[in-house]
Symmetry: C2
Subunit: 403 residues, 2 copies
């Protein structure tokens, strides 16, 4: 049996986590006391504490000189940095960036958003985000000196290299730009490790953790300018073999249907995106130009369009749910909140796609979180990348700041 | 951040695994040498080796007296029990049980099969399996004294409790029987920990490991008396929220189509199971009563039926693949080998369901393994339940048979 590289990393991170936990629980300790507390050799402890000191997660607070009776070099006492334990979640949408800062106890201690223009390039987006983070730090007295990690949500498939030949516009503005440098920019600015993923995936993870009970298996779809999706299985985001997992918007639902911007025909996105729904309403004679107008209108043609859309959506969700057996199916996007009939009818239809004799059907529901879901999901992903938590999920639910 | 009980168990098993690995790689070692090799304290090593000796995974082979110049108590040298590293994979199909035995190096050292009648109850099935295992042990001189674990594949959803209201016959004979005792029967007989799962899931895991490179993300469908399926994501079997993941056979492919034994209409199983394919051939006037006759016949109507079936199958596989993004899609069952057109045409159709601009499409292929896939998959799941390789649910502590 070989020990793969990841296993080595797991063992190292497991050890780190045990050391941090001992310090968290007991306050300051010498290296010898740490070794005793966690049952590892002095050599191993020296290596681990060296890394933790270098990363700023741990600081030298004093020596045990005061307590020592005998001679010899006093041993350093180590403790968690009081300012450590901050996590930064950043979500770059098509037209705004959202930032959330959590402390070591997973509470969101600051959050905010800032818009940029639709066609803004990555340098402008990153500058906007840095300014927002500076402002939040200033307002809340946060220093970001020892960030545990930064999670960054971006639009479109991740990694970018998974879609090298995607047509212009297939994933909206910003995708084609050299966004792959965003992680470098943040790592250099803050000196912390960075994880990047698609922001719909982060939103799905945030939804999985947003309820009283964690949904370990969740299917997420977001109806917006396009239709995105993501899977959480066993409490983790599913990236897929080439980073393309979760593309529910591009499942064929109308064979030979309308051409989709992805190049296929009859994708779910051609039926269930907000522009597609508005267009269908107008085709039926309803005078709606925007989502707000759709929500306010009492035109029965609109309800009919929403019902038909929900049935198509529900069949697709039911098919996927039959194969992956989630406990929750979450429909996100503003329209899901504004038009409850969409979620209700999709739930009914999806239910009919599942075994009729199974009582425990997945809960099909509207998303709980709103525009900040990507940033909260990025935070959740950071918490989960802690190895003991990742393998044995138990983090507290993430709660947004009260407005 | 708390350290949950499972995390403690993970750490303990991780340490055990590192000790076993050191012994596997280096042969006999003293406890001091083990401590040095794995970077753990002497106290921790003493505890771990005590447990391993008690469980029979490790034995005392000699002392280092011969190598010692100085005085003092000679240190014991420990090694893996030569008979220790056995794993037992058992696959209970509808009409036969298949058994495979692997040693610590993961080589299959014995395997065999034994039929039972279609309606055989679990007591008969288990007795048949025990007799087969006894015979294999006798023929090969295997003692099964210190089995590392037993993996058992069964038909139908797992856990059984996930489908309490399944109609009679929905999952074939044997499902309704009290098969939940099968793990107890094996645990008592062999004094080893047991994992049980659906045998199609085990087959999928075996396929994921059967190639030169491990397919970490694989979608598996088996065309047989029914149509089963399974997902491997990140190298692991996906069980789903209630144990029902992978039911590709019950995805709706013909809305309002023929009634399926599951109670829904137009499921993939009503089109792509072997009985459904044979019935379709006969409807088109082809005189085929069995799979062998279908394979031998040159009737063009049969090719046409196979093509149409493959298109329905390919669309379903493509839809699922768009959401899961697997690297491989595997079609199992004897008919996939006998009728290559089925796999070829399904691959073409599935490919059209995916992004046209993505070059790295999943490989759609016929299964590599045959009837022994379930037993091999059960072995693979056992290997993966080694904590460093995966966190497959709950491998109970390894117990040796009482002397």
């Amino acid at each position: 049996m070989r020990m793969p590289g990841e296993a080595h990393a797991l063992v190292r991170q497991t050890h780190q986590e045990r050391v941090l936990r001992a310090l968290r629980e007991r306050g300051s300790l010498s290296r010898g006391e740490i070794a005793e507390a966690v049952g590892l050799s002095r050599t191993t402890i020296s290596e681990i504490t060296r890394d933790l000191l270098r990363d700023g997660a741990v600081v030298v607070v004093d020596t045990d000189a005061a307590q020592r009776a005998g001679s010899g070099r006093p041993a350093e006492r180590l403790a968690l940095d009081p300012d450590s334990g901050q996590f930064l979640g950043v979500d770059f949408g098509h037209r705004r960036v959202h930032v959330a800062v959590a402390d070591a106890s997973h509470d969101v201690v600051a959050s905010g958003r800032q818009t940029y223009s639709d066609g803004a390039g990555w340098p402008e987006r990153i500058t906007t985000a840095f300014a927002l983070i500076d402002r939040l730090g200033h307002d809340r007295g946060l220093h970001f000196r020892a960030l545990h990690g930064i999670g960054i949500g971006v639009t479109g498939p991740h990694p970018r290299s998974s879609a090298p030949h995607a047509p212009e516009g297939a994933f909206g503005p910003g995708f084609a730009a050299a966004r792959d440098d965003v992680d470098v920019a943040f790592a250099e600015r803050f000196g912390a490790s960075v994880i990047v993923d698609n922001n719909t995936r982060f939103a799905a993870l945030a939804e999985a953790l947003a309820g009283d009970a964690i949904a370990e298996n969740l299917l997420y779809v977001r109806l917006s300018d396009g239709v995105g999706g993501a899977l959480v299985i066993g409490g983790r985001i599913v990236p897929g073999a080439t980073g393309l997992a979760g593309e529910l918007g591009h499942v064929t639902v109308v064979p030979g249907g309308a051409r989709c911007r992805c190049g296929k025909d009859g994708c779910l996105e051609t039926v269930a995106s907000v522009p597609a729904i508005l267009a269908a309403c107008r085709e039926r004679g309803a005078d709606v130009g925007s989502l707000d107008e759709l929500a306010r209108s009492r035109d029965p043609a609109i309800v009919q369009v929403l019902r038909e859309t929900a049935e198509v959506l529900g069949r697709a969700l039911g098919t996927i749910a039959m194969v992956f057996n989630p406990s929750e199916v979450v429909i996100g996007g503003e329209i899901a909140r504004l038009a409850p009939v969409l979620v209700e009818r999709a739930a009914e239809t999806a239910g009919r796609e599942l075994f009729p004799w199974v009582a425990a059907k997945p809960l099909v529901r509207c998303a709980r979180l709103a525009d900040d879901d990507g940033a909260l999901g990025a935070l959740a992903a950071l918490f989960r990348s802690s190895p003991l938590l990742a393998d044995h999920p138990e983090p507290a639910p993430i709660r947004a700041l009260p407005a």
